[in-house]
């Protein structure tokens, strides 16, 4: 990977960072929602709205 190796590495690194950012945001949001829902007493499985 001699020619323009830095461009190739930058492209793959930025892609990995953006994917990690998207996944991290979704996981963090999920944990926050689960924590907030746990404060309510358990109910029957209702609708999504």
């Amino acid at each position: 990977m001699s020619d323009h190796g830095d461009f190739i590495i930058a492209a793959f690194a930025i892609t990995a960072a953006v994917v990690a950012l998207m996944l991290g945001a979704i996981v963090r949001d999920h944990r926050a929602l689960k924590r907030a829902l746990a404060k309510f007493p358990p109910r029957g499985e209702g609708d999504g709205r």
């Binding site: 020619d3 930058a10 998207m22 999920h30 929602l33 309510f40 109910r43 209702g46 999504g48 709205r49």
Partner: protein, 252 residues
Amino acid sequence: MLKYANPTFFLRLVAAVLPWLWAATILTLGVGLYMTFLTAPADYQQGETVRIMYIHVPAAWLSMFIYMVMTLSALGTLVWRHPLADASQQAAAPLGAGFTFICLVTGSLWGKPMWGTWWVWDARLTSVLVLFLIYLGLIALWNTIEEPLMAARASAILTLVGVVNIPIIKFSVDWWNTLHQPASVLRMGGPALHPSMLWPLLVMALGASLLFVCLHLMGVRNEILRRRLRRLSYLAAEAADHVLEPQTEAGA
């Protein structure tokens, strides 16, 4: 079909299929990366730089595919008013923005050594930038309007208006004289790529698509939980009001 579109059933389905989907995604992307760096040859003109294609092209395909998913979801919101449709739309917008950003940045990193410039205002690049701005506009719209049903309808209408950009992106390289190369895979007469480059590209595209499916399912699950939380908070506030009312009457 309606059974599968029920939010409660959907949550159970996601919990069951997500581990398998993640395993398939990691395996496919692992094989794709192996092929990208170890089996795919360097291009006779572009040299090693062609390896950027294996992330740029799947990201470009996904940026348009995600918008089509959002368009179908928008129709689901406006025509059938299904709760999963607007959850799907809301979850897809940030992912669409993310993959379009990857497409733009990797394209720029590929363009600099090949074209000698980071950016040109040609039809393909500009229409993809417009797509990115539409995604950002949709995310902003969701966050601006507080009432969820109104936000869903406004976003659905904007999504349907913005879909006109998708054929412009696809055919921009045929309709106008652009610096960007014409289609070399999805074109009349079959792919122009040699199989030694085509297969790694298709495996990476499959891996990226599976990654989107995983992230989208997780995002829709979050939206369902958010609506459940909103409903429970509303019911709790309403119950607290009922408890306070008799005390107020007794006080009066």
